[in-house]
């Protein structure tokens, strides 16, 4: 099964290697990995997606916790969550065929972020399948895709923090200024993933 591990790790040299090495040792291919700053200073947040058996998932999570630089690990598995990916797609485009691409971009709720005489760059956020859909229709429309840069999956559980670790660190406290409703901003948020 596909596991999505969300890990809070100390922002230090070598931490990524330690996490990645754990998967390497099991000869598990990491499908997707994203790292960036989290809401806490000094802690980075990783989303690691990997294919492994259900039992292996438990052991990976337990082993990740054993890494000295790992503060918290959550195996999202089937829990309600939001997953997004960001893609930058550069397409060969001249003034002649631009408008056709603009239409596609509109349909996919993407946007054009750079326009050059012979190319344009599309920025798109969404679930994996949606990004792949755009890439597919670009191909079908005989557009020449020059470059694709994808962020990999970012995943967050819906609702409150459930981690006892993060709660102990003061995270997940109800904040009256933040809307607590699961109010989707657009339809995309309700799409099955």
């Amino acid at each position: 099964m596909l596991h999505t591990f969300v890990a809070y790790v100390e922002d230090r040299p070598g931490v990524l290697t330690r996490v990645a090495s754990l998967f390497r040792r099991l000869n598990i291919n990491i499908v997707s990995l994203t790292v960036g700053r989290s809401e806490r200073t000094g802690l980075s947040r990783m989303t690691v997606v990997a294919e492994a058996s259900a039992e292996a998932g438990h052991r990976i999570q337990a082993s990740l916790f054993k890494l000295e630089n790992v503060v918290d690990v959550d195996d999202i598995a089937q829990a309600p969550s939001v997953t997004r990916e960001l893609a930058l797609i550069k397409v060969a485009a001249t003034p002649k065929n631009r408008s056709q691409i603009f239409e596609l971009v509109e349909v996919f709720r993407a946007r054009v972020v750079d326009l050059a005489p012979e190319s344009l760059m599309i920025e798109m956020t969404g679930v994996e399948s949606k990004i792949e859909g755009l890439i597919q229709v670009l191909h079908e429309g005989d557009n020449k895709i020059l470059e694709i840069c994808r962020s990999g999956r970012l995943t967050m559980r819906r609702g409150h923090h459930t981690s006892s670790v993060m709660r102990a660190m003061g995270a997940g406290e109800a904040d009256p200024l933040e809307p607590q409703l699961e109010a989707p901003e657009d339809n995309a948020a309700n799409e099955p993933e």
């Binding site: 040299p13 070598g14 290697t17 330690r18 090495s21 040792r25 039992e55 438990h58 052991r59 999570q61 337990a62 082993s63 916790f65 054993k66 890494l67 000295e68 503060v71 918290d72 981690s163 006892s164 670790v165």
Partner: protein, 588 residues
């Protein structure tokens, strides 16, 4: 230790902050952590540290190969329960430590290895003797540090000690660049204290689990306690004994668990697994409840997992959540420090009558006691079992025995009966040949008043035989028994059983070990008959210095019983003969 001048004459750590070089900080921190002995080998990138040693009350043992330093730190730790320390230089010095570090990792032994590295300016440039040792040791350490500022040295070393000791112990490496050793910083031992240990969130012992475990114990008809190394690391010997005695549960031990429960105790079954006695493995296979205490269902104790103790409910008590359901699926997991968990569990366990089951197990021993090779009349053949048995008898079972890896290791486990923890020191998980001699040196430094015996094969002994020089230089008293059968015996045994006796690369020509010892100023004897064994063992014991005995044993003896890889635990290869239970002199 010599009469060198010291600036720090007392063993008390520096309590007032002082400005020191990074090299001095290394030693001051070690003194603060209570270290009195280190094992190491100098070289360019660690020279500043060595230069500062004379100022501190720490004894340094010069090894002959850095692998020896790691094994000595390991043996020191296994004998004492304290953290062992090894020191090496950059590059080859550091890589030579790796086998020793991996040995400690697989057996959960707390050691701290300190390595020098090239100056931070040239880090990553393939400078002379530069190697990425934190990269290399990443999978075989609990954690490691690359330190390139003097002010980070004390916090890193203190943190390393905490990591090495806490939860499931293990090795930690601190790699310090040469410029960090040379520069100065304010040394404040107290301020360098690490943050408190972060508990593993999956480490849970809940009321329900405890209640269910107690219920299972109460209702069990055929329970067995599986006693592992975790008992010794956690110091839970009393708790396990109380559990066994109160509920009348027989105890089977892993190799590394030997000593955790007294061998002479009526509830002690003996060692389980690949070379465990048949009644031990049968008891496990017939059990309706297994209580695993600080053990990890290693493949050497389970046989094929699909056929392992299929009738038994399983309670697993271990400190490491990653061990739960790893090899064997268990019914109840109590994840925490073994002693603490047992202290919570014991009040819920009441006395129960286990006589019926104990009698069944006792009866299953049958004629096996007679089968024991040690009870055979002297046929002129010298069996390793005789040697081990005599060493046990003569030392009163009170010595620290440090074994190498192979047949002699299994014979030691079968014929030396360990009453107390930390009296058997052996490489179980990694199975590192060459472990015994250096680990014994470490053990002797940890317990200078204890009698220390090395039991090694002719193959493994030669892997680290250079450490004889270390023994000579340090003038320490260690007795060495080489079980010499002229083969890499365990490999030969596998070739005999599974490779049609194709003895490829296992016959081994060895030097005259007594002459080799003599070259080091170490006395020795060669023994080839059973009648000479006791006399030789006594000679070794009464000799003032180290002593080596070359026991020329039966060349093609095998370790029985044996559960071959891929077999169920109860499917054992028995000693051949007319009666599988009775040893026949005609067998050889």
């Amino acid at each position: 230790m010599g009469t060198k001048a010291k600036t720090q004459t007392s063993n008390a750590p520096l309590t007032t902050p002082a400005r020191l070089t990074g090299a001095e900080i290394v030693w001051a921190t070690l003194v603060g952590e209570g270290v009195t002995d280190v094992f190491g080998y100098p070289g360019g990138a660690i020279l500043p540290v060595y230069d500062a040693l004379r100022k501190f009350p720490i004894h340094h043992t010069l090894v002959r190969h850095e692998q020896g330093a790691a094994h000595m730190a390991d043996g020191y730790s296994r004998a004492s329960g304290k953290v062992g320390v090894a020191i090496a230089t950059s590059g080859p010095g550091a890589t030579n430590l790796v086998t020793g570090i991996a040995t400690a990792m697989l057996d959960s032994i707390p050691i701290v290895c300190i390595t020098g590295n090239v100056s931070s300016k040239v880090l990553g440039t393939d400078a002379f003797q530069e190697v990425d040792i934190t990269g290399i040791t990443l999978p075989v350490t609990k954690h490691n540090f690359l330190v390139n500022r003097p002010e980070d040295i004390a916090p890193a070393i203190r943190y390393a000690f905490q990591i090495a000791k806490s939860a499931r112990p293990g090795p930690v490496l601190v790699d310090i660049t040469k410029d960090a050793q040379q520069a100065t910083a304010l040394f404040d031992f107290e301020a360098a204290k690490p943050r408190p240990v972060r508990p593993h969130p999956m480490r849970v012992v809940d009321e329900t689990g405890l209640a269910q475990a107690a219920e299972l114990i109460r209702n069990a008809k055929r329970p067995v306690i599986l006693a592992g190394h975790g008992i010794i690391e956690s110091g839970a010997m009393e708790q396990v004994r109380t559990l066994a005695e109160r509920a009348q549960i027989p105890v089977a031990l892993t190799l590394l668990g030997l000593g955790a429960f007294p061998a002479s105790h009526p509830l002690n079954l003996g060692m389980m697994g690949m070379h465990g006695e048949s009644w031990v493995n049968h008891a496990i296979q017939d059990a309706d409840l297994l209580i695993a205490c600080g053990m990890r269902f290693d493949d050497r104790v389970t046989g094929t997992t699909s056929t392992y103790a299929t009738k038994a409910k399983k309670i697993h008590i271990d400190v490491d959540p990653a061990e739960i359901n790893k090899n064997i699926k268990v019914d109840i997991a109590l994840i925490g420090d073994l002693r603490e968990v047992l202290e919570e569990l014991l009040p819920r366990v009441s006395a129960r009558d286990g006589q019926a089951w104990l009698k069944t197990v006792e009866a299953s021993k049958g004629a096996s006691a007679v089968r024991d090779i040690k009870n055979l009349p002297d046929s002129g053949h010298l069996y390793a079992a005789h040697v081990i048995h005599d060493i046990w008898r003569i030392t009163g079972g009170d010595a620290i025995v440090v074994t190498d890896v192979g047949q002699h290791q299994m014979w030691e486990a079968q014929y030396y009966h360990h009453e107390k923890p930390r009296t058997l020191i052996t490489s179980g998980g990694l199975g590192t040949m060459g472990f015994a001699l250096p680990a014994a040196i470490g053990a002797k430094f940890a317990c200078p008043d204890k009698e220390v015996w090395v039991v090694a094969g002719d193959g493994g002994f030669q892997m680290t035989a250079a450490e004889l020089s270390t023994i000579a230089q340090e003038k320490i008293k260690i007795n060495i028994a080489i079980i010499n059968n002229g083969y890499l015996g365990m490999v030969r045994q596998w070739q005999e059983f599974f490779y049609e006796r194709n003895y490829e690369a296992t016959p081994m020509v060895s030097p005259d070990f007594v002459k080799l010892a003599d070259a080091h100023g170490i006395a020795g004897l060669t023994v080839s008959t059973r009648a000479e064994v006791a006399k030789a063992v006594n000679s070794a014991r009464s000799a003032p210095g180290a002593f080596l005995i070359n026991f020329k044993v039966e060349k093609e003896d095998s370790v029985y019983p044996m559960v071959s890889a891929g077999s169920a635990l109860h499917e054992m290869i028995r000693r051949p003969g007319r009666d599988p239970l009775l040893e026949s002199p005609a067998d050889k």
